[in-house]
C-alpha cells in the first residue's frame, strides 16, 4: 500500500535521472549471488518473488519493473538502490504520485 507508493515514487525519480544498469558480461564468481539466498529473498516493497538475472547480476521484480543490484555477492535490497528495468513507466500495479 503506502510502502509501495513510497517505493515506486523513489524508483521513478531515479529512473528520470537515468539508470542504465550494469553491462551484461562477465560477472566474477565472488560477485555473484549465493543461490541459497533465492529461497528467502523477495522484493522488500511488494514481498513478491524475484528473478535472478545472472548476466547483469541483478534481482528483478517483473511486476514493478525494478532491479536490485548484487555487489560483491551481497544483494542490495534497499528500494532506493533499485533501478527501473523498463523505458516505459512501471506496470499497472503501482500507483502514480
Amino acid at each position: 500500500g503506502e510502502a509501495m507508493l513510497r517505493g515506486a515514487t523513489v524508483v521513478l525519480r531515479r529512473a528520470l535521472s537515468g539508470g542504465q544498469g550494469p553491462e551484461p558480461g562477465q560477472v566474477p564468481g565472488s560477485a555473484r549471488l549465493e543461490p541459497s539466498l533465492l529461497r528467502f529473498l523477495v522484493c522488500p516493497l511488494s514481498k513478491r518473488p524475484l528473478r535472478y538475472n545472472e548476466a547483469t547480476n541483478e534481482l528483478i521484480n517483473e511486476e514493478l519493473g525494478i532491479a536490485y543490484p548484487v555487489i560483491d555477492g551481497i544483494p542490495n535490497m534497499i528500494p532506493e538502490a533499485a533501478r527501473t528495468t523498463q523505458k516505459k513507466p512501471p506496470a499497472e500495479g503501482s500507483k502514480q504520485p
Partner: protein
C-alpha cells in the same frame, strides 16, 4: 524508579515534549514526522541519514570500540544470547542489524559443536550408522558440519557488512552464511521463513521500531522465536549513577581517542538512554503479535534479552 534517578531522562522528557510540539506546528508535516537522534529532535528521514553516517564512520573500529567500552563484556552478553537460543542443527537464523557478524559466527560455532556431539553420541551408542556417516565422522569434511543450519545476516549499512564479510573470510566462515543489505523496517524476505530472528544492539537504531517488530513477526515461521539483545534500564540506583558517569564522561572520550569520533559515541550513549525500558519494550513486542514475551536482565539491566514466540 529508574526514570526518576536519571537526570538526563527527566530533562529529556520535559524538553523533548515541548520542543516537539513547537517544531510540529512550525515545520508542518512536510519534513516528515518528528523523532529523536540521541537527545536532538529531528525528522525521521534525518534520523535515518544520521544513523547511517554514524555506522559508516565507526564500522572499521566497531569491534575494537565494543571491547574497549564494555571491557570485553559484550562478548559474554552475545555468548549468553546464543546459549539462550540453543539452536539445533538445521536451524535457520535471520540476524538483523548483524553487520560485523558477531552473532552469526557464534551461531555457526554452536551448531557445529552440537552436531559433532550428536555424531559422537551416535558412534558411542553403536547406533545404525551408514558407511557414509562413519566415514564423515572420521574426516575433517565440513560439508555436513552444520547439518543444514543457515544464518542470513541482514544490515542496512554497507560498511558494516563489508567489515563482517572480511571478518568471515579471515576467520574461515563460509558455509551456511549469507549477507544481505536490507532495512529492518522493510525486510526483503518472504513470510514464515526463519526459525529464529535475532537483533543484537541494533533495534535502538531503528527509526520505526514498531515496523521492525512487525517485520520480525512476518518472516518468522509459526513456532519461531524472536530474540533481542539491547541496552536497557538499570534498576540499581548506585550502579545507575556509576553507569551514567561512565557513559557520559568516559565513552565519548574513548570514541575520540580510539575511533577519532566523539560525536558518534555521544549519539551511542544518548540512544541507549532514549530506548524504552524493559516493560515498555516488552509491551511493544506483544503489540506486534508475539506471545510468551519475556526478558532477562544482564548486569542489573545494563543489557536485557527480550524473547517472544510467533504461534
Amino acid at each position: 524508579a529508574a526514570a526518576g534517578l536519571c537526570p538526563y531522562r527527566a530533562l529529556l522528557a520535559r524538553r523533548g515534549g515541548a520542543l516537539r510540539a513547537f517544531c510540529g506546528s512550525v515545520r508542518g508535516l512536510a519534513a516528515g514526522p518528528e523523532t529523536h537522534f540521541g537527545f536532538q529532535t529531528v525528522t525521521e528521514a534525518e534520523r535515518r541519514e544520521k544513523i547511517y553516517r554514524v555506522f559508516e564512520s565507526v564500522a572499521k573500529k566497531y569491534d575494537v570500540m565494543n571491547d574497549s567500552m564494555t571491557l570485553g563484556i559484550h562478548r559474554v552478553w552475545k555468548d549468553i544470547l546464543v546459549h539462550k537460543m540453543n539452536p539445533s542443527p538445521g536451524t535457520l537464523l535471520l540476524d538483523v542489524a548483524g553487520g560485523t557478524g558477531d552473532i552469526a559466527f557464534r551461531f555457526i560455532n554452536y551448531v557445529r559443536c552440537v552436531r559433532e556431539r550428536q555424531l559422537q553420541q551416535k558412534i558411542r551408542h553403536h547406533q545404525n550408522l551408514s558407511w557414509q556417516e562413519i566415514a564423515e565422522s572420521y574426516q575433517e569434511d565440513k560439508s555436513k558440519s552444520l547439518g543444514d543450519s543457515q544464518v542470513v545476516v541482514c544490515d542496512i549499512n554497507k560498511e558494516m557488512l563489508k567489515v563482517g564479510k572480511q571478518k568471515a573470510q579471515h576467520l574461515g566462515y563460509s558455509e551456511g552464511l549469507s549477507w544481505v543489505l536490507g532495512n529492518a523496517e522493510e525486510l526483503p524476505f518472504d513470510d514464515d521463513k526463519f526459525d529464529v530472528y535475532t537483533i543484537a544492539f541494533g533495534i535502538r537504531n531503528v527509526t520505526r521500531i514498531d515496523l521492525a517488530l512487525q517485520e520480525a513477526y512476518r518472516v518468522l515461521k509459526p513456532g519461531g522465536r524472536f530474540l533481542c539483545l539491547e541496552f536497557s534500564q538499570v534498576s540499581n540506583s548506585l550502579l545507575s549513577r556509576l553507569y551514567d558517569l561512565y557513559s557520559f564522561q568516559v565513552i565519548p572520550v574513548l570514541g575520540e581517542v580510539i575511533a577519532g569520533d566523539w560525536k558518534s559515541y555521544q549519539y551511542l550513549v544518548e540512544s541507549i538512554r532514549r530506548f524504552p525500558p524493559q516493560e515498555e519494550f516488552k509491551a511493544m513486542i506483544e503489540d506486534a503479535g508475539f506471545f510468551k514475551v519475556d526478558y532477562q536482565n544482564l548486569n542489573s539491566g545494563i543489557v536485557a534479552i527480550h524473547s517472544g514466540f510467533k504461534l
